[in-house]
């Protein structure tokens, strides 16, 4: 695993997230569920807790955008770049952007599974860099996995716990 060079981690454990808009590829309930489960993956192994808000600025702002969305990292149309997220810092830090030129799916192995893409991006939102372990969620290329049985790899768990420690509730 790898973390961003510098002190990129949240100084608090209670974080907020907000879904600013939706992709037309899935129902709103499916997007909500995918995002919630993606964050829960990280909450299960750390002291981090996530609360959804519906207005104002959240720590993790989530949006579906296309092309040049004015953050200096334009998307490139279908395939190629699927999404990106910023490491923890004030302002745009923690925010996750999904390329809405992609076809996102809820459970189907076709297209890109939003839960898997979001879980990867939230790893960045929390301070993890890309891993060189091909079995890790934080590996940079997309691989479909069975979302019903999906669990973080030991590499991902070690990475996030190096920043925040383990979940003391379990």
């Amino acid at each position: 695993y790898s973390t961003f060079a510098g002190d990129y981690k949240w100084k608090k454990h209670d974080l907020t997230y907000r879904i600013e808009n939706y992709t037309p590829d899935m129902s709103e309930a499916e997007v909500d569920d995918s995002i919630k489960r993606a964050l829960q993956l990280w909450a299960d192994v750390t002291p981090l807790r996530f609360t959804r808000i519906y207005s104002g600025t959240a720590d993790i702002m989530i949006s579906f955008v296309v092309g040049d969305h004015r953050d200096g990292y334009p998307f490139d149309g279908p395939n190629g770049f699927l999404a990106h997220a910023f490491p923890p810092f004030e302002g745009i830090g923690g925010d996750a952007h999904f390329d809405d030129d992609e076809a996102f799916f809820y459970r189907s192995p076709q297209g890109y599974n939003l839960f898997l893409v979001a879980a990867h991006e939230f790893g960045h939102s929390l301070g993890l860099e890309h891993s060189q372990d091909p079995g890790a969620l934080m590996y940079p290329t997309y691989v479909y996995r069975d979302v019903d049985t999906y669990a973080l790899s030991q590499d991902d768990v070690s990475g996030i716990q190096s920043l925040y420690g383990p979940n003391t509730d379990v």
């Binding site: 990106h84 992609e102 960045h124 860099e129 890309h130 997309y142």
Partner: protein, 79 residues
């Protein structure tokens, strides 16, 4: 009719886009051809090292295959 780019031109375009976005390769500008080629080779080696590919600094099939895979747009700076 416009002339379609050759396969080689297409590979170089893919590699340049990839390395510019993710490995800090400067955008094509006033730098000389040789300097550009050296910069491209250096970034290619970084990318190949990250993905555990043969570190050749040249655009081989395996490298292009990895570049064409869908991926996260955050740069791989760990290597």
């Amino acid at each position: 009719n416009p002339i379609a780019p050759s396969a080689d031109e297409d590979r170089v375009r893919i590699a340049e886009n990839y390395l510019t976005s993710l490995y800090g390769l400067p955008k094509q500008g006033s730098s000389g051809t040789e300097r550009r080629s050296n910069a491209l080779s250096l970034r290619l080696k970084e990318m190949q090292q990250f993905f555990g590919l043969a570190i050749t600094g040249t655009l081989d099939e395996e490298t292009i295959k990895v570049m064409k895979k869908p991926r996260c747009g955050v740069p791989d700076v760990a290597a």
